[in-house]
Symmetry: C2
């Protein structure tokens, strides 16, 4: 093991970043604005402020400031789970026999188990600062709901989480974590909102959907005094908060004079990848590096590699503004056999724009290969990775194996976004040999594209 | 927040300890030796080596060397999950309004979720060095089995885990983590051993017991070539490995010139508490400090506070040597409503001896009060604690509240041994208001004591 670069690097409290990096301020062209689906016109700030906190809307629309100060109140909470470690994967390098230097930034060392807490902290803080009493959100598998319940507890806010009903039944313990932090968890559809009651009337036995849970959470927010709605991915302000991942990574790598040749991240809504690449992409846009950025998506939900760059709804209930993004169509659902997360139909408008302009590469991988990589990684590096994160592990390993062929000592950085504690049903399927792969047909995608809104 | 002492302190790789601390070498009197129950005579090293690895037996019987070198092979694996953070609990202090300085050493930031990995790493390494092909162990709730499967995967050893059958059915995902790391998990009782077959014949529908699982694991080890048995608590060599917790804590506290007035840890078998206090107790035994050491046990399983100091079997199957320790009797079982772990009938012989000689204080607490503390802690410090660890949180909070009364700025250090991810059924009971307390009656304990072996 090299004597020079330690296995794990934690920044000290004094070294911890005091600002987020606003990637948009480095882009020559901005992505197209959100549109109000009723009017087809760009959303005014007031329209967004009816749903979201003021400061978040301000950040959403800010493409001028390169750095945004992280308030002390957020930096305090960050201290409980950040800085996260940057790890030199010596044991993985050795197992692969590669000359590449592999690094990963591990965001799973907090009770929510993922990077989601970075933005939950910021959004809950701003809600409190605005004088709100409560916030609402939806959650599917429960990672985001857990993160937000931790943040709401820390800042002293009430929180209602609309949790997709089938998920709340299949994952009762996820619900219990949220309750332990004081959140009210409501299986959706519920009779607490008009949207929920309507769905229950039409489909009495339904297990719910993320689209319905979003509709309920937004309705609850706009009909409750001193309450706003909070979203965990896709939006520009979420990517801003997640830039802490990349800023810390760069500070740590700079200590060792290491510049990534390749940065790999998994992409679902794009918040983790957008956060990880932020400072490196900012440099790239200024011609300061020649880093290759690779977003990895599941072959069963290939929004960048096979989607359309078009305006679409952000949710399947079609209540949100329209976003210009790579999308599979808002009704697209990955096959039920898909176990690896990253099942969002669209993609962050910032990531979509950068991909469209040729700054980002994307690849898709099948899930059995993803789990092969996950298990090889777990055995030599100790951490049981989330299936989502394992998409990045897969491609980082593939790139490192190319280096073994060519003898190149490339520096590879990947994002390890979370732990696999709550995905053990998927690991069981893999261990039992019952996991299968799935790739949607061209016909299915064409059908889905045909339903895109006409703008 | 103080500018001087950071919220979290990680030792750097260069600062990480190179030796374990052998507390026994500082004790004026040693605990009584293990006895062979058949002969009533002290166990010879060869008898122990029939079951355990040679190096572990050597460590078990070593009361001469004050420091034992940690081999590079173990220090390498330690790098994947150590050093663990020492946290100044500023947010808990603020929530309590106490002038006390509260610190905790958090051992849950690894995939096994607890401190158990410290000894699993060492024991798997020594098994590999001895040229063994495989190891066996038993596990109840699964924490120890998970830790050992991670270590076995890292060093390339086969591992058989005999998991209490009812536990393997109630916690299928725990089993899945072990399988993911390549362990063979066998629900116990099984037909793979004579001990298991005998139990199955007598009690066809049994859900198993830890005693039976130990018997199966030991039988499998002694009847398989190149295979030994590995145990996760109680024994002196396990406490030796766990001393890494205390040694790191002391190095970090020394940086800030802080000397603990009070050290609090939960006690089940005693491995975590013994490890945490090791260097501080060594100083105490040399008259270098006046620290108060408090072991916290559940009121429903009060081995130190209400047990007898006597020779007893280490397991309920009565196949192990006899140990002189505080015990409730090897057939003692805490009430089924007991959710907080720490359900071992006995106590580490080292801890028992130190308690008997007046160097350690012990208190017992009821579980609803333990969960009150757990939730208060989770909300302000972020981490969802294991119920076991929450026994220490409870008493650390109580001591800090005493300081609030007296105005004393005492330094309190407690051990946060693990996370509560796999204990959410207990949190659910608490959240639902269905958790109750239980204290065994004097009559029940007297009955249990009557069955102690006559030595």
């Amino acid at each position: 093991m090299s004597r020079e670069i330690p296995y794990k690097t934690y920044l000290t409290e004094k070294e911890a970043p005091r600002t987020w990096l606003n990637l948009k301020a480095f882009m020559k062209e901005q992505h197209d604005p959100f549109l109000n689906p009723a009017t087809g016109k760009p959303c005014a700030p007031e329209e967004l402020e009816a749903v979201f906190c003021k400061e978040c809307v301000k950040q959403e629309l800010n493409s001028a400031d390169k750095e945004i100060e992280i308030p002390d109140g957020i930096r305090n909470f960050y201290k409980t789970f950040r800085p996260s470690p940057l790890v030199r994967a010596y044991f993985l390098e050795k197992a692969l026999g590669t000359p590449a230097h592999i690094y990963y930034k591990f965001e799973g060392n907090n009770t929510s188990g993922s990077h989601k807490l970075n933005s939950a902290a910021a959004q809950a803080y701003y809600a409190k600062q605005q004088g709100l009493k409560s916030i609402t959100t939806e959650t599917g598998a429960g990672q985001w709901g857990t993160a937000l319940s931790m943040a709401a507890a820390f800042y002293g806010l009430d929180l209602k989480v609309y949790m997709v009903k089938v998920s709340s039944e299949q994952k009762p313990y996820r619900k219990e974590v949220m309750r332990t932090y004081g959140a009210e968890v409501i299986p959706s559809p519920s009779d607490t909102t008009a949207a929920g009651r309507k769905i229950l009337e039409e489909f009495p036995g339904t297990g719910g959907s993320l689209g319905c849970a979003i509709a309920e959470a937004v309705e609850a927010a706009v009909t409750t005094p001193d309450c706003k709605y909070v979203l965990g991915s896709v939006l520009d302000h979420v990517l801003l908060h997640q830039s802490i991942i990349g800023v810390e990574s760069k500070l740590a790598l700079d200590k060792y004079g290491e510049n990534p040749d390749i940065i790999v991240g998994c992409i679902g809504g794009g918040s983790n990848f957008g956060g990880l690449i932020a400072p490196f992409m900012a440099d790239r846009l200024q011609g300061k590096n020649n880093t290759k950025f690779i977003g990895v998506e599941p072959a069963s939900c290939p929004s960048l590699t096979r989607g359309k760059y078009a305006y679409d709804f952000c949710d399947s209930a079609k209540i949100t503004p329209l976003a210009k993004m790579y999308t599979l169509g808002c009704d697209f659902m990955p096959s039920p056999n898909h176990a690896g997360g990253l099942r969002y139909h669209g993609m962050s408008p910032i990531i979509s724009k950068l991909y469209h302009d040729g700054y980002i590469n994307a690849v898709s991988v099948e899930q059995t290969k993803v789990f092969d990589a996950a298990i090889a990684f777990a055995k030599c590096e100790g951490i049981l990775p989330a299936p989502e994160s394992s998409h990045a592990i897969r491609v980082a390993m593939d790139e490192a194996l190319k280096c073994k062929q060519t003898g190149e000592e490339k520096v590879i950085l990947f994002g390890l976004t979370g732990t696999g504690y709550f995905d053990l049903a998927a690991y069981k399927a893999y261990n039992d040999g019952t996991m299968t792969d799935y790739v949607p047909s061209d016909e299915a995608l064409q059908k889905s594209f045909a339903a895109l809104p006409k703008v």
